[in-house]
Symmetry: C2
Subunit: 478 residues, 2 copies
């Protein structure tokens, strides 16, 4: 037993030194789930299934509880994540469609471009959704490799149950869903069985990429297609959870995280790899039991309530980030780029970005990296602004999932934009559920936030008040 203990100490010391020597270029693994709700993990309250691998990640890393996505829909969220900008600054709002001929502007710098210049091998494996035409695909945006779908897995000529779309519906005009390698279509996703293979395919590709690059720094961006509808799980996971198909799908994604972590360990990369896990937006609640859970936050995807915007986030870096820490500081997906820049010394993009480095909180300092998250946009409409934990709802009409007929079994429910949101001040410290308007109690804070809203409008514009915005940069166009 003594010998074993001594050996352990030697080994640890060896790996530590080994990690230190490469610490300026740690590998980055960025796992990005699609429509995963805040409450969908074991560690955030999932009830009828387990996510042991993701929970372990949280236990061994830092879990953020106050983490905002850039915008609560697919394309805009991804644009913010990869560029460190509010999506509206760079002209990507809402979700791109297969008929759109725009995408990420070549003048914007992605995390991949930043790290490539710094000597990293880079890969995007999964859903892209920042422009499906060639000039906008990952290979033209700093990635050495791409394998996956150009956009959401529901943008195919079928409904959410895999049946051919009804003539006259938008879906009926969608082309077959292409699976792409590099810049080329290599196959089509035509059935739910095809969809069920996506998580495993992405995982296998990711494992291969890690193994291939175990001797050089790499950036692996793994934006899964699941649990976006139409959800599907592969045979070993079908029926595995007590929560039906949605639970099965999350359990397979959890398995995928486990495979990534296992590979990193096997390759001796655990000490030299930062793993970041988060989601693009909250759950798409209209799909009932095929949707995730906001964990009690109000509303879901496509709204500026916290149920749409607040996402789980975990960051692990063995030996560098303290284990099992819960960080409640306001932070956002747009902060990931500057955080990686600070850690790797890669240098920030030339054009103005909006993210801030989270390194101080990762080091355990009790500081707030950002005071404002003032850009709760829905498309190009500014619907709320936030300062610290004060969130001011600006008057607007909102999609709502409450008091409507919900869907189930893969069928969507009613869609309703009937919620009339008045000017209201929420104190997210005590009221993360956004139900108790306190603007009358805090008139000065309300006034400060109204002023802030004007500044935001002047900066990036607002469709509701018809303000143009002087610092918008255009999306890339064909």
């Amino acid at each position: 037993m003594r010998i074993f203990a001594i050996l352990t100490i030697f080994c640890c010391a060896f790996f530590y030194v080994n990690a230190q020597s490469r610490s300026a270029s740690p590998n980055i693994v960025l796992i990005f789930l699609d429509d995963l709700g805040y409450g969908d993990l074991g560690v955030t309250g999932a009830l009828e299934y387990q996510t042991p691998n993701i929970d372990k990640l949280a236990h061994e890393g830092m879990r953020f509880t106050n983490f905002e996505t850039a915008q609560a829909v697919c394309s805009a969220s991804r644009a913010g994540l990869l560029t460190g900008c509010y999506p509206n600054r760079i002209g990507i709002a809402g979700a791109l469609r297969p008929k759109d001929s725009i995408g990420l502007n070549a003048s914007e710098t992605t995390i991949a471009e930043m790290l490539k210049q710094h000597g990293y091998a880079t890969a995007a494996i999964g859903k892209w959704h920042l422009g499906h035409l060639k000039p906008f695909l990952p290979l033209q945006n700093g990635f050495d490799e791409f394998f996956g779908l150009p956009y959401s897995n529901d943008m195919w000529p079928a409904d959410y149950l895999g049946n051919p779309a009804k003539p006259g519906t938008p879906k009926a005009s969608f082309p077959a869903l292409p699976l792409i390698r590099g810049n080329e279509k290599i196959a089509e996703i035509n059935t739910l069985d095809d969809q069920a293979r996506l998580t495993k395919m992405y995982t296998d590709e990711a494992v291969k990429f890690i193994k291939k690059n175990s001797k050089n720094p790499f950036f692996l961006y793994l934006p899964h297609s699941m649990p976006h509808v139409p959800i599907a799980a592969s045979a070993p996971f079908k029926g595995k959870s007590k929560q039906g198909l949605y639970g099965d799908v999350i359990m397979e994604l959890d398995w995928s995280v486990g495979e990534i972590m296992k590979t990193l360990k096997q390759q001796g990369l655990e000490n030299n790899t930062i793993v970041i896990f988060t989601s693009d937006n909250g759950p798409w609640l209209t799909f009932g039991d095929h949707a995730g859970s906001s964990g009690g936050f109000r509303e879901g995807k496509g709204t500026i309530f916290e149920g749409g915007h607040r996402v789980p986030c975990i960051m692990k870096w063995k030996g560098k980030i303290a284990e099992g820490v819960v960080c409640n500081k306001l932070a956002s997906t747009i902060d990931i780029l500057p955080t990686i820049a600070a850690i790797t010394g890669s240098g920030l993009p030339e054009l103005k970005i909006d993210g801030v480095s989270l390194v101080p909180v990762l080091e355990g300092k009790d500081v707030s990296p950002r005071k404002y998250f003032s850009y709760y946009y829905d498309g190009n409409s500014l619907k709320a602004v936030r300062m610290d934990d004060w969130k001011l709802m600006l008057p607007h009409n909102s999609q709502t999932y409450e008091n409507i007929k919900t869907g189930n079994g893969g069928k969507g429910g009613e869609t309703s934009f009937s919620l009339k949101v008045p000017l209201a001040l929420y104190d997210l410290r005590r009221d993360p559920g956004e139900r108790y308007d306190v603007k009358d109690l805090y008139p000065e804070i309300t006034a400060a936030l109204l002023k802030q809203a004007d500044e935001v409008r002047e900066d990036l514009g607002d469709n509701i008040t018809k303000v143009e915005g002087k610092n918008r940069r255009p999306a890339g166009k064909l």
Copy 2:
């Protein structure tokens, strides 16, 4: 360094054996906070203050995310906790007042009585609230020692700011708030400065009790008076948090937890002590910034929504309960008595109880200890029933904290019972915020729960449908 490692192994082995030899009688420390909301801890999302000691407890133990209090008000909740019964079974519903002449019936068995028969030293330090008259006090309910208040700290002839109560209000008729040792009043709590000393006084008493009993098994029940209004923090904590007085109060309670843990460690009791941390009910939201946060769950104290009923719970037993595990199984404060009985082999009370042992989940087994929590009572009114994660709201009028004028700075807001809750089925798996009625999607589950409601009414009665209930046992009467 080698020698140190070897020494560490020897020491660990020594303590392990030492702990094993006493494992049938581990010490129990039960820390019970008052009106602490689900979201009030760092680990559950508190934003503007830290709770490092409680977070550490969670990191080293098991944290429950689906933990229901017995009833969402002071006295009933405590009755359930200490007897393992639904409070309505034993005649304690709602909150006792200083004029009431009832209390816990002597025929009921408390955790303290159970453990005392098993050779434990027992103490209650803090707020009792199960009858303030002598026959009902802790010393007559299995506790060797009592130090604290007989009921809530707001039951005094003053308002929540410490000003003398207005003539004609219920508070004006309250007697001075007595501080009791054993069965005797030893002082009065007359000012907010007195209130500010409570947390430290309780902590000092608790530390003394642990030290005194370090050589024999003990049960320490530590029901703090804070953060129940009127909230107050002692000088070292005043102004310490960024969230004003409420944050200060929680930080002092967190300090208290730290003192307890430090003492257990110093006394070499860490391996042989189970520490349980929970709260009596959700936050009293009418008090605005003097109330806690439900963390996104709907409503708060005094309602049968999860904001009232769902409480944080952590259980730590070094070497026995796996570290850092999040348990999402349905469990309740009424399960604590049978859990302790199972661990210590103390034998269950003679009269029927409702709790179930949580030992299987503490051992890490993937089992659900309880299928039902069917007794969401408000006073003697049955307002909801639950099976697994399905919660059926029975039609009722509810207190609500939404859309009313909230209080602040120690003043209460409006009180409103204006919420008309219709028959509605919530799926707490995906909808912990209780907003999406799915009864039309699941008619069979709705029917099963309606039947369950009838059985509950037959068992314990229901004021709304005027059913008597055949298994009610009476409270103790003078």
